[in-house]
């Protein structure tokens, strides 16, 4: 059994951050699986990366830009076509709480 790399409380916290409602059995399974993965990735600490720059992207450098022009005509019905619920031209959602 993998050393506990993440507590159940942490798993719950992460699930809250990710807005995933987990059943108790799922929580426990995830704790085990995440512990195993985190144990596995620990090997990266064997590498001294103090002086290494991180690579966030592997594409070419340069900043593509577009001209400041309106190129999209209004298409509300097409944009709303997949809405699970709508009211007029609004998307309708359940009451918003903080």
């Amino acid at each position: 059994m993998a050393e506990e790399k993440i507590s159940l409380e942490q798993v719950r916290h992460v699930a809250r951050l990710a807005r995933l409602e987990l059943a108790p059995a799922e929580e426990q399974r995830l704790q085990i699986e995440m512990s195993e993965m985190l144990g596995y990735v620990d090997q990266l600490n064997e590498l001294d990366t103090g002086a290494v720059e991180p690579t966030a992207q592997v594409g070419e450098s340069g900043t593509p830009v577009r001209e400041d022009a309106v190129t999209n005509p209004p298409a509300a019905d097409a944009m709303l076509a997949n809405a699970p619920a709508r009211e007029g031209f609004f998307f309708k959602v359940p009451k918003i709480i903080e």
């Binding site: 830009v65 400041d68 190129t71 999209n72 209004p74 944009m79 609004f90 309708k92 359940p94 009451k95």
Partner: protein, 478 residues
């Protein structure tokens, strides 16, 4: 402030909508007032598979703003994802900038009444996209994504501000700067300028910062001022009573005019910032910055300095004239052909601003065209009309919308400077007042004023005072 042993320490975070035709990362329109979800596309609605592409003009406007604020324009800045869940945030993250913003440092200079101008330092300016809008209905909420993706500049000040008045002055100056740049129209009431305030207090003379409260939901300058006053007093009370100020976010309640802590969240937001993989770093070449620098419009602070230098105005006068872009533009449009700039400045500060304030209309609608006002003042300079006559004419021009020449002619205000005519009037008056004349010549100098008044009256008020004085003196001297 009721307690002098404490000082307020205030910082402002301003979000300004940028004046572009299209959104930050897509080609949707940014105009307000469109029907809901009409200015949206798969990109700004966060559909699966979409990608952002940066609007060139946004970068230019942001560089202009950074230059005007004397910030360092970073040649290499990075976009970042700021993750949180909210219905008006379509991707579940906002594309913003985190530890590598476009501009660092800089300052906003507040107009000085006397002495040195006060500088409020900036921490940074960065780019980010706005979220959509939620409308709360009965048991549901309605979401409109028109505003989602509209470009914002976030301008963060150091906590250098020390009073509510200074906060308002800072906001005012910042807004006028943004308007002069064409970067934002700065309308707080419309939401194109939003302001969060960070307030803390500390014993006067201390250097460490106290715990701060962040106040949100302020949508007018007035509320910014009131909220700061309220919060500072509240904090002083707490601290004086020995209680700790928790680091919290408060909402301003405009009805009751108090700040209240936001409903406590179960968990603070962990935004989990990381570099945006869909956008390469924003590389700003130095020649782009230089090109923008040379094409910069004049900023309020520079304009103030120029007015003081060129027109020999006082700091106060310069401050009033640059308080709003329209006032400065009006003033300068009046100037061509006028020699006396100071009197033109005075005219704007008195007659023009009064007309605007009284009518409650914008300056451009309340006052005559500046060229016409300038023409009117030129007539005064040329002694064609008196200053008083000009005031009457101006009032009439505000009402009628007619030009200076036409109005002066209509009202018959043209001054008479013709020596012959004036001499005639003097002769008639002196002839009619021989008794007083004798008294004057006997030494009663005070009667001079009487004779001036009489001659003016005889000329229907249109006598050029200077010429009248010359001629009258000659005739009185015999």
């Amino acid at each position: 402030m009721n307690d002098d042993s404490y000082e307020a320490v205030i910082g402002l975070e301003v979000h300004a909508h940028m004046l572009t035709r299209s959104k930050l990362f897509c080609g949707c329109a940014t105009d307000f007032g469109a029907p809901p979800n009409h200015n949206v596309c798969p990109v700004c609605m966060g559909m699966p598979g979409v990608l952002p592409v940066l609007n060139r003009h946004v970068v230019e406007l942001a560089i202009r703003t950074g230059l005007a604020a004397h910030s360092k324009i970073e040649p290499h800045s990075v976009f970042a994802r700021k993750s949180y869940f909210y219905p008006d945030l379509p991707k579940g993250y906002q594309i913003s900038q985190y530890d590598q913003p476009l501009c660092r440092g800089g300052y906003i200079e507040l107009p000085a009444r006397e002495g040195e101008a006060r500088r409020i330092r900036l921490v940074r300016i960065h780019l980010e996209e706005d979220a959509g809008k939620n409308i709360h209905a009965e048991s549901a909420s309605l979401v409109d994504f028109n505003r989602s993706g509209v470009p914002l500049m976030e301008i963060v000040s150091e906590p250098d501000i020390r009073s509510p008045e200074e906060a308002v002055a800072y906001l005012h100056e910042l807004r006028e700067m943004l308007r002069s740049l064409g970067a934002s129209d700065g309308k707080m009431e419309e939401g194109s300028l939003r302001c969060d305030v960070n307030v803390s207090v500390r014993p006067r003379g201390a250097t460490e910062l106290g715990a701060r409260t962040e106040i949100k939901n302020l949508n007018s300058f007035r509320f910014v001022e009131k909220a700061i006053v309220y919060e500072v007093n509240r904090q002083i009370e707490e601290v004086a009573a020995g209680r700790r100020i928790p680091q919290e976010t408060h909402l301003w309640d405009p009805e009751r005019e108090v700040t209240r802590p936001m409903r406590s969240k179960e968990f603070a937001n962990d935004y989990r910032y990381f570099p945006e993989p869909d956008l390469p770093p924003l590389i700003v070449p130095s020649d782009l910055v230089e090109n923008i620098r040379t094409a910069m419009p004049e900023m309020p602070a520079e304009r103030r300095a120029r007015y003081i230098r060129e027109f020999e105005l006082s700091a106060y006068e310069a401050g009033v004239l640059t308080s709003e872009l329209e006032v400065a533009e009006y003033f300068e449009a009046m100037l061509p052909g006028l020699r006396n700039r100071k009197s033109a400045a005075n005219w704007v500060m008195t007659e023009v601003l009064r007309a605007a304030n009284e009518s409650a209309k914008p300056l451009t609608e309340a006052a005559p065209k500046p060229q016409e006002t300038g023409a009117l003042l030129k007539m005064v300079e040329k002694s064609q009309i008196s200053l008083n006559a000009a005031k009457s004419a101006f009032a009439a021009m505000c009402r009628s919308g007619k030009g200076a020449e036409a109005t002066v002619a209509e009202l018959g205000l043209t001054q008479v400077s013709d020596e012959t005519a004036i001499a005639e009037a003097c002769d008639r008056v002196l002839a009619a007042e021989s008794a007083k004349l004798a008294e004057y010549r006997a030494g009663r100098d005070k009667l001079y004023g009487f004779f001036v008044g009489a001659v003016m009256k005889a000329m229907g008020g249109k006598g050029n005072p200077k010429v009248v004085n010359e001629v009258l003196r000659r005739k009185l001297a015999g």
